[in-house]
């Protein structure tokens, strides 16, 4: 029952672009409407000071779906890596940094027992993450088994789980819901090592190391294999390559066109209205926006049944991570760190308790006075990002609750000073190198990138919001209750991170129906 007109995709985030590319390759007429003046959404490279460019939200590429890279031939559309296989450098002020790559210890002092345990621990997590990764490319199963055909996807997940083997399946089921603090305490002694591993469990989430779901978050981050990379030209180059692939396949991408409303006639999504008031008819509408924005703001709860609308409203999607960008006059020096390691992924969190204590105030609407940081200096690998001799520093900072007491406008400078104090402790003199600084709080991320709540993943990655529960039951297979309206963003399975799988899976569902 396809209506005439193109498939309209709201938002040219990387998932929207991936979806557009697949739909266009299958011969569908596709129009992508993007409110910003460039494609990419939160996977974007943009200037923040004259001559300085940075990946504005996501800054490390860890999970880009290899199937998408291959099928859309992203390298031929310009995607290249400036650096891959970044090591993690855990900084501590009173001791030498610990340098890790996967299960390997490249430098640093570790007790022999930890050194011996790390490879096995990492291999086990990799194996479990592999199970999660195998689900990324699938449309989540339905829990209503009204036919054999519909029960098969769930059976496939069960089969995958069983394939881990009895011992590992049991261990996976044991730790998947645990908190990462307990799991790390069971396996390791060294505080810096435990903190470095725990960061993966809490980054981007409203979780401390002692919160449930932190193991799941760590596994999720590992699901791309665990290696992180810096795309040449910043994260925007991933989006640019996806856009090029989509355009090459015939999709039309229009930037600077904000969608105000999804049009519904006789219960069916049949087009969109732009902010300028133009009505664009569509065969179907696909939204790359977060679920709440898509369903409650652009569509409107009145087109949904009450309980469904309420479930969407209750998706946990308040961001707790901020982003700091510094334009530096020269490379900073971190205490005890060889200059050759400055281009790795630097993390600042000396112990599990440091992270937990950073999280504590966030529970009560306060930012962390001593935040944890994930720092990259991408200009070391990619000279185009900064003027010659100068550099950009990009840091993810936690915790920065979306709903801050007193509001972000009033307290932005205070938080920025707190972050700079932490940086100064680890890299004395860094403050003097700063020529320009930009702090993106969750509120800024919400405003600039149009993500309700400013959560990079469009909603917490947690077991109660994953697979057939993501974003909510009734919309977890990319269809929504409104015929002709689909979701394709990070709010859907498999979730956030620059991955593209949600867009690819959504395209598969849409192609079955249109």
């Amino acid at each position: 029952m396809t209506e005439p007109g193109p498939i309209v995709i709201i938002g040219a985030g990387h998932n929207g672009l991936a979806c557009a590319a697949y739909l266009a390759r299958a011969g569908r007429q596709v129009r992508v409407l993007e409110a910003a003046d460039q494609v990419g959404g939160a996977a974007v490279t943009r200037a923040f000071a004259p001559g300085f460019k940075v990946s504005a939200v996501a800054h490390l590429l860890m999970q880009l779906d290899p199937a998408i890279e291959r099928e859309l031939r992203l390298s031929s559309h310009g995607l290249a890596l400036a650096r891959s296989g970044l090591a993690t450098v855990a900084l501590a002020s009173e001791r030498a940094p610990l340098v890790l790559r996967g299960g390997e210890v490249l430098a640093g002092d570790l007790p022999q027992a930890d050194r011996a345990a790390l490879p096995g621990f990492h291999a086990t997590l990799r194996k479990f993450a592999g199970f999660i990764a195998r689900q990324h490319g699938r449309v989540p199963p339905r829990l209503a088994f009204d036919s054999w055909r519909r029960a098969l996807p769930a059976a496939a997940v069960g089969f995958d789980l069983r394939r881990l083997g009895q011992r590992d399946m049991r261990e996976f089921l044991r730790i998947a819901t645990l908190n990462i603090h307990d799991v790390l305490e069971d396996n390791f002694e060294d505080p810096l090592l435990k903190a470095a591993l725990a960061i993966d469990g809490v980054l981007g989430a409203r979780l401390g190391p002692r919160s449930g779901n932190s193991v799941y978050n760590a596994l999720y981050r590992l699901s791309g294999g665990g290696a992180s990379a810096l795309p040449r030209g910043g994260m925007g180059s991933v989006s640019a390559a996806l856009a090029a692939a989509a355009r090459a396949a015939g999709a039309r991408i229009e930037c600077g066109t904000e969608v105000r409303e999804i049009l519904v006639r006789e219960g069916r999504a049949c087009g969109v209205v732009t902010a300028a008031g133009a009505e664009i008819p569509a065969a179907c509408v696909v939204s790359n926006a977060d679920p709440r924005t898509s369903l409650l703001r652009l569509l409107g709860a009145r087109h949904l049944e009450a309980e469904f609308a309420r479930r969407v409203q209750h998706v946990r999607s308040a961001g707790y991570a901020a982003k700091l960008h510094l334009a530096l006059g020269a490379l900073p020096q971190f205490r005890g760190l060889e200059p050759s390691r400055l281009g790795e992924r630097l993390v600042i969190a000396p112990s599990l308790d440091y992270i937990e204590q950073a999280f504590n105030p966030a529970k009560y609407g306060e930012f962390s006075p001593q935040p944890l940081l994930e720092v990259t200096i991408p200009s070391i690998h990619d000279a185009d990002l900064a003027p010659a001799g100068r550099h950009v520093l990009s840091a993810i900072v936690q915790y920065a609750p979306y709903e801050l007491r007193g509001g972000w406008e009033a307290r932005r400078a205070e938080f920025q000073a707190a972050i700079m104090a932490v940086l100064e402790r680890h890299a004395p003199g860094i403050g003097a190198l700063v020529q320009h600084a930009e702090l993106l709080t969750p509120v800024d991320i919400e405003r600039e990138f149009r993500i309700g709540g400013g959560h990079w993943h469009h909603g917490e990655l947690a077991l109660d919001q994953f697979m057939m529960l993501r974003p909510v039951p009734g919309a977890a297979q990319y269809q929504t209750p409104v015929p002709g309206l689909y979701l394709c963003g990070a709010g859907c399975h498999p979730g956030g991170g620059v991955m593209g799988s949600a867009g690819r899976n959504a395209a598969r569902v849409i192609l079955e129906e249109h």
Binding site: E266, G267, L296, A301, R302, H303, E305, A306, R310
Partner: protein, 400 residues
């Protein structure tokens, strides 16, 4: 969620009295009371049979003040009501009342009630069950005000063949022209009296709505006006008899409100309550629509039937059997009907049974002088009400 508009201090008291309590208490010779939500109301005053007779033969007055009432206002009031209930509220014009029900997203009935379209964009929703939680949960995305006004409006049902004459004698000029499910206001003792031609008896009757401060004045004037018309206060027991004869269902009795059900399969859809006529699929969206569409495709699980049961024994909580003595359902409301001169019941039976002409049996247990006996009574499926006098719908109404 914003705080309630009015802070109430009802929790100091375990049970509230209705605005008419001073009069109902004085009349309650049996001292029989029960609790209806927060309020105490009379089961019966003097004799249930005589109270029932007032409904069918003269004029019965029932205090329905504890009825849950919500006022829904604002620019999105119609859109909101239409998403809430299964029927098309646009067809209920100002000055009209409509019977309706609302479902959860599984298409299971939460409650039934009446929508009073008081003025443009102002609706009063009356229901037996408390609904504020559900109404507020359904509010997301609608510009509406929702106020619980149960205690702000006193209500009396005035029912029976002489009810119109009584109201005429009360001074409500032109009351006889008020059509069924119509609503009108009259000035009364310095305030406004709202009268709807509605009721729960299946007879000619009205419901009167007034500011509680004027409740006793209304009661006194009404009984004065009805003196020559056989007016009588009635309790819930007599009302219950008339509602079963009318074939009306009651929440918690004939169906379990979906928001209270714990077990699957205990709830019922509108189709399963014989209220499919209240489901309007031409509306593009209402809560439960998708599930009800699927049910229409797939078929329902149950059917509500009205049964005329052989013999004179009441089929209390009786199992229903098919012609091969397979258990297929149970009675939910039952009585000896004075008007139909028959043992009657509402029952819920599994599909496909309950078609007119089906051979059904009710298993009735009864005792005489402490000796129990069992009787398999043949049942006949009745379509429509057990008792449906023409005066119920006649307009102008019988006013003498």
């Amino acid at each position: 969620m914003p705080p309630p508009a009015v802070a109430r201090d009802h929790f100091h008291q375990a049970v509230l009295a209705t605005p008419f309590h001073a009069r109902t208490a004085a009349l309650n010779q049996l001292n029989l009371w029960h609790r209806w939500r927060d309020h105490t109301v009379a089961d019966a005053y003097f004799d249930v049979g005589m109270e029932y007779n007032a409904i069918r033969n003269s004029c019965a007055v029932f205090d329905l003040s504890p009825m849950t009432k919500h006022l829904i206002t604002g620019p999105d009031a119609l859109a909101y009501m239409n998403r809430l209930v299964t029927r098309d509220v646009a067809k209920i014009k100002p000055g009209r009342v409509g019977y309706c029900l609302w479902c959860d997203e599984a298409g299971q009935v939460i409650d039934d009630g009446t929508i009073f379209h008081l003025r443009e964009s102002v609706y009063r929703l009356c229901s037996q069950e408390r609904q504020l939680d559900w109404l507020m949960a359904s509010k997301l995305g609608f510009d509406v005000g929702i106020v619980e006004e149960t205690n702000d409006v006193a209500g009396l049902a005035v029912q029976g063949p002489t009810s119109c004459a009584v109201l005429k004698a009360l001074g409500l000029a032109g009351i006889e022209t008020l059509a069924p499910f119509a609503l009108r206001t009259w000035p009364f003792a310095g305030t406004e009296l709202t009268v709807s031609r509605t009721g729960y008896t299946g007879d000619l009757g009205y419901e009167l709505w007034i500011d509680p401060a004027h409740a006793l004045a209304l009661w006194d004037a009404l009984f004065e006006a009805g003196r020559e018309h056989g007016i009588r206060a009635i309790g819930t027991m007599a009302l219950e008899m008339s509602r079963i004869e009318a074939g009306f269902i009651q929440a918690g009795v004939d169906f379990l409100p979906a928001d209270r059900a714990v077990r699957v399969d205990r709830t019922r859809s509108p189709f399963e309550l014989d209220l499919g006529r209240l489901v309007d699929f031409s509306k593009p969206n209402f809560t439960g629509r998708r599930a009800l569409l699927a049910e229409r495709e797939r078929g329902s699980r149950y059917r509500l039937v009205r049964l005329d049961i052989e013999g004179n024994k009441v089929a209390k909580d009786a199992y229903i059997y098919d012609h091969r003595r397979r258990h297929i359902g149970v009675t939910t409301s039952f009585m000896w009907s004075p008007a139909a001169k028959a043992s009657i019941a509402l029952a819920s039976v599994a599909m496909p049974w309950g078609r007119p002409g089906d051979e059904l049996y009710a298993e009735i247990y009864y005792q005489k002088e402490l000796k129990w006996s069992r009787f398999m009574a043949r049942c006949r499926v009745v379509e429509g009400a057990f008792y449906d006098p023409a005066r119920r719908r006649a307009t102008p109404a019988l006013d003498r």
